[in-house]
Symmetry: C5
Subunit: 355 residues, 5 copies
């Protein structure tokens, strides 16, 4: 998400395409693995040195090189030379605060996604990483900031000879990677939903003092998600409309499927937002009602005793000639008078529904 | 409408096109029926086994297979093979939390609708089901989640030899099914209208304590409906603009008619929303006015008695030399003084319109 | 404007094109009149039976059949057969709760308008009727719900041999009918303007208790008008862009003129809305200021007497040894003390501008 | 600006193109002057009778006829005949409540502008007039409602042989006229800016009672300006995109320059609006803070004296056996007690920061 | 930023293209320097007289003339003649209150940018200058209002023989200049972020009285930035879509990179705005809660003592026959009664959670 890390400003004055890591470094070491497959064969290996890697690539089938943890700058430069990557692509891979986008460089497409981790959304800030995916005629490159096993299920599907992936090209693999990232949003949505439902129950019972802060915190998270989801949607739309020969027509149906998921996620988020704003309204009106109720009761009590105290004050006066004071039943009469006043006022208040 | 059911997350990691039921299961068993008709002939039957079903289909006329209750996964797979359906279509039929959409798969069009049941809108949440409609050159497939007789009137129209349906193709039948779903919104709107009118009457009399909650509940329902109506409108627009050869030009006029209905429904909902928000404004200002009125009256009373009590306090003092206390008419004078003060203040308050 | 009449739901299950009157029936009988004219000749007659009517039509010139009051269903069906009208057109003529629209049926254009009657806008709801206009190569059909003489001035213009209408075709007549309907909005706007200006004067003097309700009522009317004006604008735009051969190029300039009027009306309404919302702001802040003023004065009074009453209370204590009570000028001193306290507080309050 | 003058409704029923003056009549007499110029020659004259005017026109160069004050209806009709103007154009020239627009009539372009006079914006309503500009192959017609010398500088520029105007055609002159009108907005903006800055200073010192009304008045003026500026912008855009042969390509750069000015004016107005709304927020929160401050201090005073008065009340009781009353230092003790209570409460209030 | 400087109005009546400095003059003297370079050669010189300058230009490579401080009007006119610049371009260079834009004059492109200086954003208003960039087939002209070394790093890059700039044309240099300006926004964003984080900490502790003003000040700055960023984005988009032969296709990738930066900056600003508005909500609700808390406690105290004072008043009455006054334990009983009342009320208040 948009954040002004110091390093963004550290790049002021540098030419575009300068390789400087921007954003928090999430992982120190980078694990590089290569999978080559076509319908019939499959080959997996860990790569130590990127310089020799090009010789392993095959002309046909799909060569998938995945980086778990961003590579060191020399490794990235080497990679750029081997695959003919544009300096701006390399720069973007290292700038981990970008919004989702798709760029067509002719020989390859470059896709940036944001992956949100659902593990502990109820505490602190949302954790996310930037996922870069590049694919060309016979290769796919994927870059994760951390090794969190996001793409493990896809490796499994590739190993399975019967899967659709084995029969199709790099665009299908790229789709599968994107799909895996987008699917993770559903986990996050469920976490959020549970918390919102918890808050709804709280609201019915008695909202605690921290209610407003929790609500603001959730709202902040949704704004964050929203700012990543709208460009995601835009990106998928431009992928759908792209006329790159690197994308098979049959893959487009699958891209549309991710589009559906994205819209579904956005719709759900909007619903959450509506729920939060409804809860805020109810909370505020509850608080205000309660305050009004308190003030009303207290003021009724105070108002009730004003005339009574006045009556008591009257008969506390020291005039020499006050006939009532001498009466035998004067005191009783004063009580009767005061009770009558109190009773009359209470009846009136009750009738007016003030009490 | 958008909801994160557990099963959405259960699909994380699965390839697209995996058949898993997503959403609440509304019906356990699925009733399958086949109607074949053209202008001259009509044939109806219940189907037990989908595998043999293809042999019943006729090359000409319309073959309508309707599923009341979603089919079991093997049945769906069988169906997919018989009619050449894309795995993503089959997946969408089972994922019952989708927003309305239309997808052109070349050989067939796939339409998703949301059907709202009007039966008891005044209690609990809105009940809805997902309706899927597919149609190709000589067939229509329809999928309801529950057997609620939604399409019974259409079966009747088909049985009637003179109806327009008998003379036209699968696109007309698909239109009729869509029309039946959209028409049901009118029933729901009427229920909502009655409730809103009831609330308006309440508001004039005396809004009960639950007014705000009822209003929020209605608002929530309208948001839900709205989130299903805008994509519906979008879908019908794309149907109108579709250049699929599966849609007859004369059918387009009927599609435009549904478009009119959808806009009409949306307009009505917007009117409802305006009414609700107007009612909320009046309610809030009523509450606030009443509170102000109460506080004002009570404060006037309290303020009135402050000076009186002060006067009483004065003559309650125990100074040895207080001439007034000795006066013959001192007590009467005190009363006159107090009544004068009270009268003066009341006049002033009345003049200022505070009381 | 959008309303869910019972009859809308009564049509659930009926095929599209079913002729059922939807909406309130504004007139029981329908008057049918035919005018035929070209540059040289003019012929007027009342029609009793629509079946024979076709024989009166002439190939050249303009045949205008106008219905004042919606026709009975058999009459409408007869008319549909004579002029080759689509069932959906006939249905729309009877469904009097539609939003303005234009539909091109090839042989004829179908236009729906909403006509607001300005007669008594200050009481009850706005009264409106649906006007349907159809025109083809040599005919114009117009349908009013009530016979209110809306089109009488146009009949006069036709009778006048020199008018532009006599020299031009059905599109010009249709334009004239639309223009007459749109012009009526100006009358309504003037009524509304007078009422708003009245309210502005009220606001300066002293807003009565019903101010808020009157304002909400006006707002409601404007929402109603707005919901009819935006589709009207849209309709005129699509008429302008229509490529129907039924519309002469020279007529387009006149359509643009109506477009101007519509925009003018919309702009005026928006101005009204801004004025109303400005008045609401001033009203609310006036109310709140007044309340604050009252509470402040009352609280100042109460606060002023608290210390005084306290002093009186002090010297009302019954301690045996209270030197002040014995003093010759004790009572006077108490008064001086109290007046000093009161004066000091008043000065302080005045300085702080609280009073 | 949109206003429902009586005359708008007076035109109900009249055919389009009827010449009736709509709007306030700003000037009684109309001054007509003709300037003919090309690169080498210049000729100026006042015109008394429009009927003979056509004979003065030259085939080449630019003939500019300017009306200062709207012409009488017969003059306008004569003019229409001489220059082949459409009746709708003539009507629009007389309807002085139109929004800015551009209309292409083939032989000529018709432009409507609104000119705001900056002279005394701080009192009463904004004064404006409608400026109509028409230009064809060899002529420009301009219509002002009042003779306020708006175009005098342009006459000067024409008289200057070296100016760009003398070398170019009617489109350049039309541009110069439009530019003169748009430039006048800057004068108005400066007036508004001064007033807003004055209000900002007021706000820092002490907002007077009329603050809110002044602010609402300014807001109203901005809404008025805004409603004229957005269509102006739209109009210039359509002029830029117009493919009329009457506009030279080199003139388009100058049209873009006016577009820049318009956007600049709109941006400035939006800034003003933001400033006003920021000032309103600060004003309201200042008012509310002050009120709260007052209420808090007053309530603290009242609360402080409640317990003290209670203590005084205790020792004002008349029980026979109250040991404290007999004590030698009872009275002193009561004072100590009361001062202790008062001091304790004050300390507490101070600690809580209530005071 | 849009501002109505006096000079804007001073230009009323002048023809477009009149050279008048509009806006604050930021620098008195203008330093002119020329750099000529191609892949192999590099030549730098300071220019005293613009008239002879044209003779130094070379046909091939890039000639970059940079003005640090806006040139005097005669210098600008000379320049206009030498490079064939349109008068409107020259005018825009001097009008330093323009919004970012791009204009294609055929022989050259003209770009206006706004450069914000980050030096002391926490005090007073934002400081900014207008940067104009023109480039043609073999030249780049850049105009800064002040000599603040913005482009020094680019001079360094040119001096470095290996840089991309030396191998490419004027469009690349123009891109580098734009990139330098846009990069400076990141510095400003960081300043803003630090201040916002400081305010967030303040909010958790105790918001000072100036909180609202600081927040309004920041909001104002963001509106200012926003109004310059949206047209910047628009401008870059039109640059990307421009079909000018002056822009190399390979440069477009770099333009897209700046576009990314701009969107990133806008997104960050929007996030700031959301944070500010969230902080405002929390601040207002904190203030209101605190006020409510105070009023509640004070009212509880007052209410508590009303009945007690009443009891004291009762036994302060002077009736001759008041049995309680004679009782041995009457006084003690009165205390017990008052303590019981106080205790009961406190319990009730506590139970009701009012206290
Ligand atoms: Mg976004
Ligand atoms: Mg956005
Ligand atoms: Mg974008
Ligand atoms: Mg976006
Ligand atoms: Mg799907
Ligand atoms: Mg979906
Ligand atoms: Mg969409
Ligand atoms: Mg939606
Ligand atoms: Mg939306
Ligand atoms: Mg939609
Ligand atoms: Mg219809
Ligand atoms: Mg409809
Ligand atoms: Mg809308
Ligand atoms: Mg509408
Ligand atoms: Mg519309
Ligand atoms: Mg529409
Ligand atoms: Mg007109
Ligand atoms: Mg108009
Ligand atoms: Mg709008
Ligand atoms: Mg407008
Ligand atoms: Mg506009
Ligand atoms: Mg428009
Ligand atoms: Mg300019
Ligand atoms: Mg400008
Ligand atoms: Mg806007
Ligand atoms: Mg802007
Ligand atoms: Mg723009
Ligand atoms: Mg903009
Ligand atoms: Mg980049
Ligand atoms: Mg970026």
């Amino acid at each position: 998400m948009p954040r002004t890390k110091k390093t963004r400003s550290a790049k002021v004055g540098l030419p575009p395409g300068s390789l400087v890591h921007v954003g928090e470094k999430l992982s120190e070491k980078s694990k590089i693995s290569l999978i080559h497959y076509d319908e019939l064969s499959l080959q997996e290996m860990e790569i130590q040195q990127i310089s020799g890697c090009a010789s392993f690539l095959k002309k046909t089938g799909v060569n998938w090189i995945s980086f778990q943890g961003l590579p060191e700058i020399p490794v990235l430069e080497e990679l750029g030379l081997s695959f003919g990557l544009h300096p701006l692509t390399l720069e973007d891979i290292l700038n981990t605060d970008q919004r989702p986008k798709m760029e067509d460089y002719g020989d390859y497409l470059y896709i940036v996604l944001r992956m949100f981790h659902p593990e502990s959304p109820d505490r602190g800030e949302l954790k996310s990483e930037q996922i870069s995916i590049l694919f060309g005629a016979n290769f796919v490159l994927s870059f994760e900031e951390k090794d969190t096993g996001t793409f493990e299920t896809i490796r499994e599907r590739i190993r399975n000879t019967k899967g659709r992936l084995r029969k199709s090209g790099p665009d299908s693999l790229a789709h599968a990677l994107m799909d895996a990232v987008v699917d993770h949003y559903f986990l996050l949505l469920e976490n959020l939903e549970e918390r919102i439902e918890g808050m709804e129950e709280d609201l019915v019972k008695a909202p605690s003092a921290g209610f407003l802060n929790t609500l603001q915190g959730l709202k902040k998270k949704m704004i964050l998600l929203r700012k990543s989801l709208w460009p995601l949607r835009e990106m998928i739309t431009s992928l759908e409309r792209s006329e790159s020969p690197l994308i098979n027509k049959s893959t487009l149906l699958y891209v549309r499927d991710i589009y559906d998921h994205t819209i579904h996620i956005i719709d759900t988020l909007e619903t959450f937002r509506d729920m939060l704003s409804g809860m805020l309204d109810i909370y505020l009106s509850t608080i205000s009602n309660r305050m009004n109720e308190v003030m009303k009761v207290l003021t009724v009590i105070a108002t009730l005793f004003m005339p009574l105290t006045f009556v008591a004050g009257i008969y506390g006066m020291n005039f020499k000639y006050m006939p009532e004071l001498e009466w035998r039943w004067g005191y009783a009469m004063a009580w009767v008078l005061m009770l009558a006043i109190a009773g009359g006022m209470l009846l009136y208040f009750r009738k007016k529904n003030w009490w």
